[in-house]
Symmetry: C2
Subunit: 746 residues, 2 copies
């Protein structure tokens, strides 16, 4: 049933039956509702996954209650004890509140109450956190962001024990703790609160949620609309390098919902931050849906939040790990609690997509509320269908017109290509226009490095961003895309990068055997147009799908090009000679080059360059149509890295110096396997005999792939007209090719 | 029931019931027996794991039959097609023969017959293999070793279709193929056939097995006793550097069973080669047991073969992967088919140890013979018990008096320490006296590098040993043990190393919380005695077990010491300053040092050196009682490695120059965890406040460990008298310690 119908129906029902829980003073009414609690209690013992999740949470909370409450004086960065303890406290308090409602055992309410009063006692006189590093320091934590996390969870805890507390107790908590807390993260920190940024989303949600519990209309409006007069000047930079105030920018929860999400539900910072922001977005939207459904927050921007859940799930590899676009920490996956929330909410408040149930099955955990119950019942009733990840093209930008991210997939995620032609991605964006990464099932074939940070590991820069995030991870040469003259895209200038985005040229996933995404970038290097086309091909003469990568450059002067491929694994063979240095020196002095060692340097021996490698039991070969004047560089990360912050991983860089217009054509070909148990090495060689650019001018670029058996395939791209209806004719050698649409493949 | 009783019982039964299959001409009688076939056929459809294994093999063989038989003219090294194809042929032929017996479908016998006749047609005129690299080139393969593999399997195939063939067909095969084949790998290649070496074991078994099928007593004797007059001179080196003939050396299968196995079943080359040799040992012993039980081959040397299976299983990590002692390829595990054979045979022909059934369950596969049936029935009948890996001390040497390998384990393989104080290990031995490696469950904490080879990957040196196996993998500095003056143990001289072994000083696993192994080495560096003691401790004040490592050196001159720890993972923190080079140069010119880059160099800031790292979600800290004049080197493998044959992995080397007698004391402490999903960093710091050598003289060495809460533990080793009955008294500072036995811990 569509959301809007559901909502109408619900409102109608409410009119007729006048459920008392709707009255403003009934609690819980924020996330868990009175009706939800009744449903849950009726079904206890009857819904296996719900019962298991309840038992797990109960065991954790009981152990914490046995340990006693600790609310230490704040002193540590993330990674330190006080940070960990206060974070653990709000998580456990929220869970204890839920247990109180479901199990109706007062010990849980007592625990929440006592913890809240310990905070109340401490907060009244608490100074700003002693570790001053953030542009917006918190009080319990080193940044307002974490304080906001605390309030988002504690609002829920408060809601669940609201009726357990006396009016006097509530008044004390609200006056001494909750309202000052909400005011501190908003009124006292407008630079944190009034941005378009995931930080502000947490802040807005925190203020809004406590506003809903306290039934405080002023706080709710402050959450939805932001602080009207924040006194901030345009400009200003946070400690991650993000701009704080942009001219004419909106503010508040609704603006944060409006701006960073594209109509497809892609969040401009990338999936790692979307996963993080998803929780406050959904939880406050849900609070609004329960308390004030007439405002339609949950359905804002044509249900973009629910679309966002789907986008996020599609931005994972076969193991459920998010593609580490921009600042993303590898390993984060849909097993994270915020994705349990996302999947449960999207199922229950969306259209009960049975594919979401299989994700929930994999997560093996549900929320302890009416959404979690619905999911667990769906699984119990065998409604789950496999979550089929197919190719997807997600627009970026509030209006969906600022580039995007395309994910080409073949088979059951046998090969997955992630192509980024998006906008800058706010302060967490990398300078990697038209970059890509490649996955075979859950294994990275060509990696996106991700961020340079050890989140919450205190010994590593307090668990915060390391300087190598700027000097390495964000740089252009750190990515599988083209660098000109050893410069970064937009010269690494955030303000410039933020004004631009790449443009989609064509996206076509209609034929699984020949899927195409193509995009252009004209601003990263003024005067230069980069046009990259990625084709995922499953050819009957190849046992596995492969990727054709065409990077065509048109420019106004001669340039030095570097095109890296960050392969993971062990070099198996090359078809070119290279000199190997026994002394390693950095490849350059800046723009990320200072972090690369040059391990080998050679030149193509023929017009095709081949590199084969082995990773996690699979062979891969890169075949590139190179010139014999090109240089081939084996590099390894880790130069000028005294703290060992950078992983020691390799790349092959194709270097083409002193060249004006040019085209790089490369195939990445997975093949064969190796098992250390059977010691069988199967199909360990490339099946490509030759790769050639057989035609290349302004209008058309044609790539010919010849396999070892002599079979020939031709891919032609019409470079200037991608319309599906346009007919094209091109003569190559003695053959004339006629086709309709952007490309030809046969 | 003990083996001997079983055997007697069996013989008695045979006397009375006179089973016809015992007659020399009945087949099959080699591995599968007629009685076994009857049992199997009676139980088809009733034993799930057997049925599943049968179905799997049938599917594979049916697919191969559908593909047709290919016996290409030999031309490739391992890793190439002809190598792969001939190997696949003998595996499939053996399986097809078994299917013929079990399913009684002639198509399988026809397949085996046709394949054998294709070989017969080719072999008559086949020259020696064109790839001449082995000291003993084969004909179907580049080395006699692989030809022997072929004959071991094909003998079984022949036995199963023996009665399907006409006398004329058998005569043709025996005269043109099998006898010439057996003669070629033995009489024509005595250097291969007459050694004490896994190569010869395969050769002996091959000749013996075809001898058993052909009922040829001369071949059987040649298998058991070797070639009496081989015409070889003493000395001679194979292509792996192993000696071919040693003065007074015995030969043949029985000698190979006698010599390399210790009484505990440890095989001197190490588990990787034991796993490889186990198959011919067991399969020929089994053939002898079936055909000539009166010779007692299976029970030779007090059942050493069955003990060997147990030793081998104990030389695996928690994932079932063999410790890569000496030349071992990482990843090889008890999932390999030869271990399915080993486990099945040890269960059925041994004492039906129900713990073996749980390994078989994990393998999820059984042999298609009477042993496999027995295992599958045991599993079906819920007889399986967990295979409990505990600490074990395995002697090396034919008489168990040439050192050994000790594996200390705590908990359910929570921490596993592998300490090698063995003999040289024949030609596959490494120069790593008193080295160790450490595992936490299946994860390597401090690694043993293993071999430098990509077995069967043709592009990497034909799949054979790479030169880096000699220049790097075998060297002393490549291991977690002490190097003096940048020299290798025994100066890397195989002949010298082969004359010596380390000596056990004490082994005590009687208290799980304080397990000790200690050994000495006096020959690796003449004039120097190294005495290493490893203590696995689970202290109540530490959440996890840790390892105390004491290396005490007594020497006749000043030396330069290097003690490396090859940690895996990302550096998290150090407590010392170090200079980091932006240009990397090799650490030395030879003895493995040429393959190490120096990434950082510093000195201890206090009398304790600490390095913490993170690997696969776990934190580890090394704490060492260093001098402030020591040097601390961060190294990385991969220098002078133009073919990228060496993995780029790290070590911390503790360097102590210009010093005579000295003691290194180090704790390796696993602690805490990190999850990229929850982003929780728990217990990320060491719990050790101080580690000190509080007493150290010729008689006693005492190490004191103080934790962060101030708890103090003391370990004292009596260096010269390990007798359990000796009483000791030592005064340290103002306290007198009295104890009995080799060590004190409290």
């Amino acid at each position: 049933m569509p959301i809007k119908m559901m909502k109408s129906l619900l409102l109608m029902m409410l009119v007729f039956i006048n459920i008392p829980s709707l009255s403003a003073k009934e609690h819980p009414n924020l996330i868990l509702t009175q009706e939800g609690v009744e449903q849950i209690r009726k079904n206890l013992g009857k819904v296996p996954l719900f019962d298991a999740s309840l038992a797990k949470v109960k065991a954790i909370v009981d152990a914490e209650i046995a340990d006693g409450i600790d609310t230490p004086i704040p002193k540590d960065f993330s990674g330190g004890y006080t940070h960990y303890r206060h974070k653990q406290n709000f998580i456990i308090a929220q869970q204890a509140g839920v247990l109180y409602q479901i199990l109706q055992d007062d010990k849980y309410a007592v625990y929440v109450r006592d913890m809240l009063f310990q905070y109340e006692a401490m907060y009244k006189n608490l100074p700003i956190h002693p570790m001053v590093r953030s542009y917006a320091p918190g009080k319990l934590f080193w940044q307002c962001l974490n304080d906001s996390n605390w309030l988002v969870y504690m609002s829920q805890a408060y809601d669940t024990v609201y009726n357990f507390l006396s009016a006097q107790e509530r008044s004390t908590l609200e006056n001494n703790l909750f309202r000052p807390f909400a005011d501190y993260i908003s009124l006292a920190n407008p630079a944190f609160y009034n941005r378009i940024h995931n930080h502000s989303t947490w802040g807005n949600a925190a203020v809004g949620m406590i506003g809903l519990v306290m039934d405080d209309e002023e706080l709710i409006q402050r959450a939805l609309r932001g602080i009207v007069d924040d006194g901030l000047e345009v400009g200003g930079i946070d400690n991650d390098g993000g701009t704080i105030k942009v001219e004419g920018q909106k503010r508040g929860f609704l603006a944060n919902l409006q701006e960073p999400f594209s109509p497809d539900g892609y969040y401009t910072e990338g999936p790692y931050y979307q996963r993080y922001a998803m929780y406050p977005f959904l939880i406050f939207a849900l609070g609004m849906e329960n308390a004030k459904p007439e405002l339609g927050v949950m359905q804002h921007k044509d249900n973009v939040l629910l679309k966002g859940v789907n986008a996020l799930l599609n931005l994972t590899d076969a193991d459920g790990e998010f593609f580490p676009l921009n600042d993303g920490q590898k390993g984060m996956s849909y097993f994270t609690p915020s994705l349990v929330t996302a999947v449960n909410v999207a199922y229950h408040y969306g259209d009960q997509n049975p594919q979401l149930l299989s994700i929930a099955q994999t997560q093996n955990e549900v929320l302890l509320d009416q959404a979690g119950l619905a999911v667990a019942m769906g699984i119990r009733d065998n409604k789950a269908l496999p979550f089929a990840k197919t190719s997807v093209n997600l627009t970026d930008g509030a209006n969906g017109d600022e580039g995007g991210v395309a994910v080409l997939r073949y088979g059951n995620e046998e090969l997955t290509n992630v192509f980024k032609y998006a906008a800058q991605g706010l302060s967490h964006g990398h300078y990697d226009k038209l970059s890509f990464s490649l996955y075979a099932k859950g294994a990275e074939v060509l990696q996106d490095y991700g961020l340079s940070r050890f989140v919450n590991i205190g010994q590593k820069g307090g668990g915060n961003y390391l300087k190598e995030n700027t000097t390495w991870a964000k740089t252009t040469i750190a990515h599988n895309t083209l660098s000109l003259n050893q410069e970064m895209h937009f010269k690494g200038q955030y303000a410039v990068g933020s004004q631009h985005h790449s443009e989609l040229y064509v996206y076509d996933d209609s034929r699984p055997e020949v899927q195409v995404v193509s995009a252009t970038e004209t601003n990263a290097y003024p005067g230069t147009k980069m046009h990259r086309t990625m084709v995922m091909i499953k050819d009957e003469n190849f046992t596995k799908p492969f990727l054709l990568d065409i990077m065509k450059v048109a420019t106004n002067a001669k340039q030095d090009y570097d095109l890296p491929y960050y392969f993971l694994g062990q070099v198996i063979s090359t078809n070119f000679e290279y000199a190997s240095q026994s002394t390693l020196v950095p490849l350059g002095k800046k723009n990320g080059y200072q972090h690369l060692y040059l391990e080998g340097q050679g030149q193509p021996s023929i017009d095709n360059t081949k590199l084969s490698w082995l990773n996690e039991g699979k062979f891969y070969t890169l075949t590139s149509a190179t010139n014999t004047t090109d240089e081939l560089l084996f590099t390894r990360m880790g130069a000028n890295d005294p703290e060992f912050n950078i992983r020691r991983e390799a790349a092959l860089i194709i270097r083409r110096n002193d060249t004006q217009d040019t085209t790089f054509a490369t195939v990445i070909e997975p093949h064969g396997s190796y098992s250390p148990v059977t010691e069988a090495s199967l199909d360990s060689s490339s099946n490509i005999a030759n790769l050639a650019v057989v035609h290349d001018d302004e209008q058309y670029t044609a790539i010919q792939i010849t396999d070892l058996s002599g079979n020939v395939q031709l891919f032609i791209l019409a470079n200037l007209d991608a319309k599906a209806s346009t007919t094209h004719r091109l003569k190559i050698a003695d053959t004339t090719y006629d086709w309709t649409g952007a490309f030809y493949y046969h």
